[in-house]
């Protein structure tokens, strides 16, 4: 299948937002999506963007059933390991179901790795839900290690009221 991987432009944010919701539905947590294309436009396309994004595009003649030509995306940002240095975190990787099996996911992932490498990143990290076998298999086949299984790392989060409460306890300057 003929497809192109390119950097997302501000105009792609509506498509990216659509696919973020599709991914959240797949992950069984659609009610967790609180931001829309407006936040993506503001946060990804300002002077100091908080993330970068790639999109996968097909020509008109291969558009999806609903008429979309932007049919996949990878959203990522730069992080830091105090042990190894610069790293890239892959927040989302998604290809619309009807376009899977054509190497588009692999192409997106490889492009993120290539971009990271140019910035001297030595790691690419992401998280996967433990029941998401197709994704776990996909990443394992690419050489990713599951650090939760091999080293016992657990992801911990403060949000909502708990985050507010914690912040209120900070010492005064």
């Amino acid at each position: 299948m003929n497809f192109k991987i390119r950097r997302a432009a501000k105009e792609d944010c509506k498509d990216i937002s659509r696919m973020i919701m599709d991914l959240a539905i797949y992950e069984k947590m659609p009610d967790q999506v609180k931001i829309s294309h407006e936040e993506l436009e503001r946060d990804g396309f300002c002077q100091n963007p908080l993330f970068e994004c790639l999109v996968a595009e097909v020509p008109e003649e291969h558009k999806s059933n609903e008429g979309f030509t932007v049919i996949g995306y990878a959203l990522y940002f730069y992080t830091y390991s105090t042990w190894k240095g610069r790293a890239v975190y892959l927040e989302d990787l998604y290809v619309m179901p009807e376009f899977r099996g054509n190497g588009i996911g692999t192409a997106l992932l490889s492009k993120v790795a290539e971009i990271g490498k140019k910035k001297q990143c030595v790691r690419l990290q992401l998280s996967v839900l433990n029941w998401n076998t197709p994704s776990r298999d996909f990443y394992a086949a690419k050489g990713a290690q599951d650090l939760t299984v091999t080293e016992g790392w657990h992801a911990i989060r403060f949000d909502g009221q708990n985050l507010d409460n914690l912040a209120n306890e900070a010492p005064k300057d």
């Binding site: 609180k34 940002f77 992080t79 105090t82 490498k117 996967v128 433990n130 050489g143 016992g152 657990h154």
Partner: protein
């Protein structure tokens, strides 16, 4: 610059505690370059005690938190706390809590909706501390697994 050398010492001490000391490849120079340039890859805060409480070796900088901004495609801007460390002789005095609360305060001031980090499952003191402060374990409760690609696997992936 002084902060980078203190952070470097504590990064190594924390790695020793986590039994993964041989994994530390970053140098003090890397920390200076990556944390204290125009577009830093990370930010740090330090806990300091007055001269009269300094350690046996003479340190007054006795703890640190290192963090950076991240992004959730579901909730927007977030903070990731990469390290939180207090020297053993200064624990149990609220220093860790103060550092973490300060990171949370900075997170809210920057418009972040989440403070994320990772803990080793056998590290009971840390796990208990974080859970008692109101965080939740999204690996245990939601099934998120942390994945990593590095070394040869990453090289291979990055081939155009």
């Amino acid at each position: 610059m002084m902060a980078a050398d203190a952070i470097f010492v504590y990064v190594q001490e924390l790695a020793e505690y986590e039994k993964l000391a041989e994994h530390v490849k970053v140098t003090q120079k890397d920390l200076e370059q990556d944390g204290f340039s125009k577009n830093p890859f990370f930010h740090g805060i330090i806990a300091e005690v007055p001269e009269q409480h300094k350690t046996k070796e003479g340190h007054t900088k006795i703890g640190y938190a290192l963090y950076f901004y991240s992004y959730s495609s579901w909730s927007g801007r977030a903070i990731y706390m990469e390290d939180l460390y207090v020297m053993p002789e200064f624990r149990g005095k609220g220093v860790g809590k103060a550092l973490m609360s300060k990171v949370a305060q900075l997170a809210l001031a920057a418009g972040c909706h989440q403070l994320n980090f990772t803990v080793l499952d056998w590290n009971k003191p840390s796990m208990d501390f974080y859970l008692s402060q109101g965080s939740f374990d999204i690996t245990a409760s939601m099934g998120y697994h942390c994945m990593r690609c590095e070394g040869e696997a990453l090289e291979h992936l990055a081939q155009p």
